[in-house]
Symmetry: C2
Subunit: 654 residues, 2 copies
């Protein structure tokens, strides 16, 4: 090894700086102990993926890994003590999230078993299903979560699978009436699952009661499909080779009456349907609401994947050189190029922001699911926040990992350097647990309906009507949307420029202004159009506007959580660094929305130019701390597993 | 099948409309016959990939496919008649591009053999290498193109491999002096190649003569590494499983003197180095320039991959429904959602633009390589244009295929629907044949140096100095950059708004204005900074600005080619439709750069809002023609191979 190579390696190996330690502590959040334990427990080879395996071997390997995980206390956290768990919802999500650092197939398959299948039984079942929970925790019972159908993924309330109560035998008959009713993309359905939590239209006494969840055995102990059940393998996917996604078709499969998960509704032996929730739509959303942990988890795992990728790409950029600097004759580190700093550092900043936001989300979820926050509005707010952060984090992962791959050039394309696996595995995260477009729309609709329970159950027609009314309210309260717009436009450039853009309150105000303005104008636009066209036309015509409002809301939430997160950092160096990272997050976000800000007179042209310059100045300022920032993101070096970070061709140069 | 499903299928199967035929004819370009022949020849199962195969079987399959292709006249087009070819460079690129419709591994491996390895021997060799060409056309000789090293990919002139002339034996000694000198990512090096076209620093009489290319046998007939040669397998990659990329390390490997490809330089038996090109740097760039076909081809294949993905995603959106429309009770087609139209149709429009631009590029290349355009500036212009369009097309492919995957939801993630394979296979296209950032910079530098041959050879220091001078020229010619800026700023919103944005000349002017302004201000900025800081600092500080200038240039070129392409369409309906597609390309491009246009006073806020509305109006207007546009892109249905386009769960709905 040349002296220079040695110096490089030593520089990389001096260990985590104190500042990085403080920052990592802050980013680790309330379940830091869970994370620290996982960093030790999961670092070994036995938990990594093996990209050489075919899908059958990969799935078997992941299942074996789950059997080890099951002995380490991970699954129990997600269940109440009376069901054999330790009752630590936040710890459950955080612990499983750490699996994403080592292998996303392991994370997904564990999430399906303990989070989705287990969560359905835990949250929708009652005492009579308790034994299933004990068995699924220990993996004695392998299950799957059969909600999505080939024909209906986003529109879950229109699922076609039926569960018809047969009074004569006191059984439910599960059936797949059409090709599009086939259960599809179901993790575990291709091979390992013995039982499915099936979402189906419940039909009692010839009457449809809406979507309910029932436990349906699908395979015998030897793995053969049970009578009336036909499973198919979805085969190869873009990634996640260790997850056996498949399809299930039911041909009048009979299950005991007791297999209905009856927490919110039940059918008595003599065929009487009862529910404590009268409104069918509200019942359905209450059912779905209990499953929010899935959405919380997906966002967290996507963000974890992005942190791994950024850790790899930044470390590579701190070692890899290309083109001689004419000033010195030395070849230049990738990280010293302005373009490279601009590619990677804003994504690192966004990862910081999202980590704080995710910690806060998990904290909120934990309080509600432990029963410490029983405010009815909290659950509703949690669902909206989980949807929004799922979108933000999965979108970020897709973009960040792609950028990391490209920023590492040809080396980035080799599987041994892991970026392509991260990209392939996380790619579906923008789709599952709610398509990002649909979820963004959901967030925006929630905002527009001002969290009113009454309108949640409205169909599209009713919803547009409501939004129209609500816009009217806004008009009254604010002396008219038009006037509001006018007021905003009347701000001249000077006055907009008065606030110091480096001040946090000014930044927060800019984010809030964008959300506020987009929401109010969207409501107004819906109202104006709904009169002329049908409600679908009105809504569809404003769809890009509505989506922009949802995105603006998410951006504002994330910034607020970043600011809150910083407030809790005590070490002054760590705090100062976090403040600069927050500035970069703000400036980069503003830069992405620059056209909007100028067009709507929230920013003068001069200020817009200052934003662009500001991004450059901030990446310059953060350049010396690049390694500290990566260490703070908290992916241990032992879990990076990118060959190029140890390759002599990078470190041992002439 | 339900009546509705039947109607759907019939609607999809009525065959290509006349308008689509006319458009397709225009997009097919000058080598339409080659494309039409390939559509028939390559549609069969025998040319598809088989994603179930492991990499060893996949590589073997692709090699077998190449043996069939070799009998069909594809490779001969790329070589001159005296070398056993048919002398049709444009047909060679176009014919191979069609392979991208069926399998990108097949395209890459064919491109390596006949384009890169074959092209090196054809263009850098002389009569004494003629026999190699005949053998490589027929695949009697399998070769690879060993340029990139682990330590140097973008910075090719600093390759470390050495080829030292040994006067005593009249041989060259090929050596890998350092770990970073290892040849890497070389297609064919892992397994199939018997010979490598090795780029190495030529050392004669102890003096370095710069990078030259030599033919080095690397394996014997049984596939074993020859003495002194050690090959390694790069193993799994993000995609392209059928391509055996690998590494080569040379330990003083001796080859005959005649194996130097001696078109531009030779070494006599007694060790005298001669070249018709005196300047070593110019000699190097001349050498690289002859290899421009690779860059032309990569852009074309990436764009072809994007067309396949868009054909799949648009057809799926024309069949798949989700959420009932409250006006009709019918579920809504994905393609009827504004958000979906906005996701896909601007990408279709860009595909049209790039197809015209690529046709023009291939035409220019063909004229030069046939010797019909001997203007020295043409070759230089071709290289710049090829670099720019490589960037535009590979960037477009990465973005478009990602969007298509997400727009098809869970189905899009299944390998059987092909989008993930297209994504994985094309992902490295932004990297190979020139990293996109480096190439964009190259384009910008070329523009800044005003195509002056004298400065091409400058190092970074000299280049910055030159740019500074050139900025001075601009200042003189235009009475000062500052004044120019002032003039532009003095245009008030009204006067900017005078031109009708729907007029093509106004659109062209807006694109040209952006390029012009960015270039001039970049030159000015470099000049201003170079005095204060070192040249690297000056350049690096302006890097984002310089890259923006390069991108603006590429955007302008593409629009001009789109406009030229439309001019050649005779059918009035096809022409009218193409004009609307062009409008969408323009509006969507302007929308992406809206902040810039407003900030630099090229657009008023009102006009910027009109651009945003215009995108919505144009996707609305093009919605009924979505299928026509896809048919016009020219990927035959038989080559789409996405299971979901025939799935009963999509077509046979209740």
């Amino acid at each position: 090894m040349t002296p220079r190579a040695r110096a490089n390696v030593e520089a990389m190996a001096t260990g985590t700086s104190t500042t990085a330690e403080h920052l990592r502590s802050a980013l680790d959040g309330p379940w830091r102990a869970v994370r620290e334990q996982a960093r030790t427990q999961l670092a070994g080879e036995e938990f990594t993926d093996d990209p050489e395996l075919d899908i059958h071997a990969a799935r078997a390997r992941v299942l074996e890994q789950m059997r080890v995980i099951a002995t380490m206390g991970y699954p129990e956290r997600g269940f109440r003590p009376e069901n054999g768990g330790t009752g630590d919802p936040g710890g459950a999500v955080t612990g499983l999230e750490m699996l994403a650092y080592t292998d996303l197939s392991l994370w997904v398959k564990s999430g399906v078993q303990w989070g989705l299948f287990g969560g359905a039984v835990e949250n929708l079942g009652t005492e009579r299903h308790r034994d299933f929970i004990k068995r699924l925790i220990s993996l004695d019972l392998l299950g799957c979560f059969a909600m999505t159908e080939s024909g209906h993924g986003s529109d879950v309330s229109d699922l076609e699978t039926t569960a018809t109560y047969d009074l004569a035998t006191q059984e439910f008959v599960i059936n797949t009436p059409t090709p599009s009713a086939r259960k599809d993309y179901i993790g575990g359905a291709a091979h390992h699952a013995r039982m499915a939590a099936v979402f189906a239209q419940l039909i009692v006494g010839g009457e449809s009661k809406g979507v309910h969840c029932l436990l349906v055995p699908i395979r015998d102990e030897l793995g053969a499909d049970l009578p009336g059940v036909t499973t198919f393998d979805d085969g190869l996917k873009g990634g996640l080779p260790g997850v056996d996604n498949g399809r299930i078709v039911f041909d009048h499969v009979r299950i005991p009456r007791e297999n209905l998960l009856n927490r919110y509704a039940d059918v008595s032996p003599d065929g009487l349907y009862t529910s404590e929730i009268e409104n069918p739509s509200r019942r359905f959303f209450t059912t779905l609401g209990t499953l929010v942990r899935g959405r919380v988890s997906v966002g967290g795992a996507a963000a974890a994947g992005a942190r791994v990728a950024l850790s790899i790409a930044v470390r590579y950029a701190l070692a890899r050189r290309q083109f001689a600097d004419p000033d010195t004759g030395e070849e230049t580190l990738l990280m010293d190029y302005r373009s490279h700093q601009r590619r990677l550092l804003p994504l690192v900043a966004k990862s910081f922001a999202l980590a704080f936001a995710q910690n806060d989300l998990v904290r909120r979820m934990d309080l509600i699911q432990r029963g410490q926050d029983t405010e009815p509005s909290s659950q509703r707010a949690l669902e909206k926040r989980a949807a929004g952060l799922k979108v933000a984090q999965t979108r970020h992962a897709t973009r960040a990992i792609q950028e990391c791959r490209e920023a590492c050039g040809g080396a980035g394309y080799l599987t041994e350097n892991r970026l392509v696996t991260l990209k392939a595995d996380t790619d579906v995260f923008t789709t599952f647990e709610g398509d990002n477009v649909v979820l963004t729309q959901l967030v925006a609709k929630e905002l527009l309906t001002a969290y009113s329970d009454e309108v949640r159950d409205l169909d599209a027609l009713g919803w547009v009507r409501f939004a129209a009314t609500m816009a009217g309210d806004v008009v009254r309260k604010r002396s008219g949307v038009r006037q509001l717009i006018q007021t905003l436009r009347d701000r001249n450039d000077e006055s907009v420029d008065e606030g110091d853009l480096s001040k946090r309150d000014v930044q927060l105000q800019l984010f809030a202004d964008r959300e506020d303005y987009l929401l109010r104008t969207a409501a107004h636009r819906l109202r104006a159009r709904a009169a002329d066209t049908g409600p679908f036309e009105a809504f569809n015509n404003a769809q890009d506007h509505i989506l922009a409002a949802g995105t603006a809301h998410i951006d504002r939430l994330v910034l607020e959580e970043f600011v809150d997160g910083i407030a809790e950092i005590e070490d002054p160096d760590a705090k100062a660094l976090a403040e600069t990272v927050c500035d970069l997050y703000v400036y980069a976000s503003l830069e992405e929305n620059l056209a909007w800000y100028i067009m709507h007179r929230f920013m003068s042209v001069e200020r817009a130019k200052a934003v662009r310059r500001g991004v450059n100045e901030l990446v310059d300022r953060l350049r010396p701390d690049a390694l500290t920032l990566v260490e703070a993101m908290g992916v241990p070096e032992s879990m990076l597993r990118a060959e190029m970070l140890h390759d002599a061709s990078v470190f041992d140069r002439r």
